[in-house]
């Protein structure tokens, strides 16, 4: 046996704390270690080639790399070991960055000793590593996209255009998401509906996309290449005969606030979500329809000339199979009632930015829904960068949409006084700083300061703001007709639900976590599951669209070859030791273990395709017959021994 040990400096990240010399000289003294080297960046081409060439030149048959977390570069080095002709599983990584130099930088001596121990642990394990081979499995071309806002639409169209079979699921009755509600988009001021609606229309006309609206993904089981999905489709009570003539709506007696219009207008119980909805078809809100509640009314059915109203519709369960999944479940706006000091919900002249988006649309279309007034104030960072309410993150879009809304108001009526009270003005994107300058030139007044008090003048109904202008160093107390809260983003209910259904990891703040913040921004730790758009974190439309296309490309990369590599770290049974007790069968979450008769003896048998490699059966086995490849009992025990400084036997 010839082991090569490589210690990385990580450009100082490790070597500024850990004494690399002490680690290498320790490694040199260990039995079977043939070569020990250190390098500034083991993950670089130079570092990787060191390993590659040493394996060939010195016939190394085991490799240990002491560097960062295996979750960062484990695969990098496994690929190199494989490239050199060895099994990628005769490799171990000692995590001396995240576990030594970073969390113990105050105590370099102890950090060095720990690094030595961790190298020892890896050497102990690598000696017992088997030459496992990656297997390949067939994979199809079917994708589930959850969420049909601009992220899901873009991903679905890219995949559909590339010839993949797409199942697009949207919980609302129409696709389009939040973008459909916006007035214009910064910094170009394109009309949001005008650029979005053609993309929405492309979805049903794409032959490779099956659209499920008013539907939710209820359950997902299986794994990459073999996901089984249950979709719950709610009834709309209107069938495909509907031509959206609108006669039914006129006869419907029930009126409720229109959620698309942020309650600024009303809609009926039978309605179309908005004028460019896809599918463009009426539906009945079952929570408020009189007929569905107590069998009375039924006006819509009586007047419909196309026989489209069907009260007998029932919820459907649709089962599909897919190979990969893209989660594009988006965000919800921050619930401004949580921030009590601003008086949203109690003061009618305090509104959200989304209401202002709709008001600007209404005004532009000549159907103003409420008075905007002469003096308008925007309050920034509502629900963002606020530790009191538990959201530390910046929502990234509020600075720019406030810059947009404020200058649209000012340009529409130069006599208006428009103020933006901000914490920091973040104009980081392409063309953003220029757009901000333009808003200033237009006459919008940007004031740095967090609003401390929002009070209502009980007589006039005007809103009085108290704020310190932290640049001019003076307290401002001023009266406004309307106060707009620039609400931030929160992970949507759909994102939470998708995270639960797929058992996905979430980042601080609750958004879905990517596999690597820099290099795998749309992958997740769940093989074959990708994320994009605001489900992953707050972002604007261009970033969302870029990420959606990236997620589609990453999914295509997995599926296009028709096969993918499977990790061989499955359970394995020693049939001589197995007594056929079937304890392993009962603990397996995947039904991957069965017992069978072999030479008149009942033994456990593992299905290596179904087995996901948790090792629960190995821990449960009373006779030590069930083990897990790469995490064998003797390996784990050897690691423990090495960690505790036990001498080699």
């Amino acid at each position: 046996m010839k082991i090569g040990v490589y210690v990385c400096h990580c450009g100082g990240n490790i070597s500024e704390v850990v004494d690399i010399k002490k680690v290498t000289s320790f490694a040199e003294k260990q039995g079977d270690v043939a070569i020990v080297r250190d390098n500034a960046h083991m993950c670089s081409d130079v570092g990787r080639n060191l390993v590659l060439e040493d394996i060939k030149e010195h016939n190394l048959d085991r490799i240990v790399v002491a560097a960062c977390s295996p979750q960062f570069h484990g695969k990098t080095f496994m690929d190199i070991v494989e490239k050199a002709g060895l099994s990628p599983y005769v490799f171990e990584m000692a995590n001396i960055r995240e576990q030594c130099s970073w969390p113990h930088f105050d105590e370099p001596d102890l950090a060095t000793r720990k690094a030595r121990d961790l190298v020892n642990v890896s050497i102990a394990k690598v000696k017992l590593d088997e030459s496992l081979e990656r297997k390949t499995m067939p994979i199809g071309k079917r994708v589930l996209v959850i969420g049909a806002g601009i992220a899901g639409i873009q991903a679905a169209l890219d995949l559909g255009d590339a010839g993949f079979e797409v199942h697009l699921v949207e919980k609302e009755p129409t696709i389009g998401g939040k973008m459909a509600q916006l007035s214009r988009t910064f910094p170009t001021e394109d009309c949001a509906a005008c650029i979005l609606s053609p993309k929405m229309a492309d979805v049903p006309s794409n032959p490779n996309i099956t659209l499920y609206t008013n539907s939710q993904v209820e359950k997902i089981s299986g794994f990459l290449g073999n996901f089984e999905v249950t979709i719950h489709k709610k009834p709309t009570y209107v069938n495909e005969n509907c031509v959206a003539c609108g006669i039914c709506e006129e006869k419907c007696p029930v009126k409720v606030p229109n959620e698309f219009e942020q309650g600024l207008t009303k809609r009926r119980a039978i309605y179309v979500p908005f004028e460019f909805a896809v599918p463009y078809r009426y539906l009945i809100d079952e929570d408020i329809c009189i007929y569905l509640k107590d069998g009375k009314c039924g006006n819509c059915q009586k007047v419909c000339p196309h026989d489209a109203v069907d009260f007998t519709q029932k919820p459907e369960k649709i089962e599909i199979k897919v190979d990969t999944i893209i989660v594009a479940t988006g965000y919800d706006i921050f619930d401004a009632t949580e921030k009590k000091v601003y008086g949203f919900g109690t003061n009618k002249n305090v509104i959200t930015s989304l209401e202002m988006e709709r008001m600007i649309v209404h005004e532009a279309e000549g159907r103003a829904t409420r008075e905007i007034g002469k003096r308008i104030a925007f309050i920034q960072c509502v629900g963002s960068r606020d530790e009191q309410i538990g959201n530390e993150y910046c929502s990234r879009i509020c600075c720019m949409y406030a810059t947009k809304l404020s200058q649209l108001l000012k340009r529409g009526d130069p006599k208006k006084d428009v103020y933006v009270f901000y914490t920091d003005l973040r104009a980081f994107g392409k063309g953003f700083e220029e757009y901000y300058k333009r808003a200033q030139r237009t006459g919008v007044k940007f004031v740095r300061g967090r609003v401390a008090e929002v009070n209502e003048d009980s007589k006039t109904g005007k809103v009085i703001l108290k704020v310190e202008d932290t640049l001019a160093r003076q307290i401002i107390e001023s009266e406004f007709d309307l106060v707009v809260l620039s609400v931030g983003m929160t992970p949507g209910a759909g994102t939470k639900q998708a995270a639960d259904v797929l058992r996905m990891t979430r980042s601080p703040g609750g958004f879905l976590q990517e596999a690597h913040p820099k290099f795998k921004p749309v992958d997740t730790l769940n093989d074959g599951v990708f994320i994009c758009g605001c489900a992953q974190g707050p972002k604007d439309i261009p970033d969302t669209v870029a990420q959606a296309s990236a997620a589609a490309a990453r999914a295509i990369r997995l599926m296009n070859k028709g096969v993918y590599a499977v990790e061989p770290i499955t359970a394995v049974v020693d049939e001589d030791l197995c007594s056929g007790c079937a304890t392993c069968v009962s603990v397996c979450p995947y039904d991957a273990v069965k017992t069978e008769l072999k030479d008149d003896k009942r033994v456990a048998k593992v299905n290596e395709i179904l087995c996901q490699g948790c090792g629960s059966c190995s821990a449960a086995c009373p006779s030590g017959a069930s083990q897990q490849h790469w995490f064998m009992n003797n390996q784990l025990r050897a690691m423990v021994g090495a960690a505790l400084g036990e001498e080699e036997e």
């Binding site: 977390s69 295996p70 979750q71 995590n95 960055r97 995240e98 576990q99 030594c100 970073w102 969390p103 113990h104 930088f105 105050d106 105590e107 102890l110 950090a111 000793r113 720990k114 121990d117 961790l118 642990v121 639960d500 058992r503 990891t505 979430r506 980042s507 601080p508 976590q513 730790l525 769940n526 770290i569 603990v587 979450p589 995947y590 996901q612 490699g613 948790c614 090792g615 629960s616 190995s618 821990a619 449960a620 897990q628 995490f631 009992n633 784990l636 025990r637 690691m639 423990v640 021994g641 960690a643 505790l644 400084g645 036990e646």
Partner: protein, 145 residues
């Protein structure tokens, strides 16, 4: 600290949540006492009680087992198995005269670097108080109390 020796703690972490949580603590430069060594398994349910006993035999003062939060297990139900097994093991330790708090089970997610730091530091302090595991003194302490 009762003993002048340095505490020896082994932490078994699952790959998906708690190991990533430990990484998160490191990435955020959260400082921890350097007396613990992490052994990574794919799931906390890979760690059987016998292995933990073996870890004590090899000289550990305390063993931390960390997995995903209930409902979040990457392998659906693995952490529930772990929970049951650790409960049983603690009963067994009690029978053997070993302080059951020498085994600690924690749920730590990938984003809970702060929790990882807190748990590890707390556990190390607690084990420093208990001292190394020595069956004869451990039993005397128990009888005295």
């Amino acid at each position: 600290m009762k003993s002048n020796l340095e505490p020896k703690i082994v932490a078994f972490c699952c790959n998906w949540c708690s190991y990533a949580g430990a990484d998160a603590a490191g990435t955020s430069r959260l400082q921890m006492k350097p007396y613990f060594r992490i052994i990574r398994a794919m799931c906390s349910s890979r760690i059987d009680p016998e292995m933990i006993l073996d870890t004590f035999k090899k000289g550990a003062w305390g063993v931390l087992v960390a997995g995903c939060h209930p409902g979040d297990c990457h392998y659906v139900t693995g952490n529930y198995r772990t929970q049951n097994r650790i409960l049983l093991l603690k009963n067994l330790l009690e029978e053997l005269g070993i302080a059951p708090q020498r085994v600690r089970l924690e749920w730590i997610s990938a984003n809970e670097g702060g929790k990882f730091q807190k748990v590890v530091n707390e556990f190390i302090d607690e084990m420093a108080e208990l001292g190394p595991l020595n069956l004869s003194t451990e039993r005397k302490v128990k009888e005295a109390s």
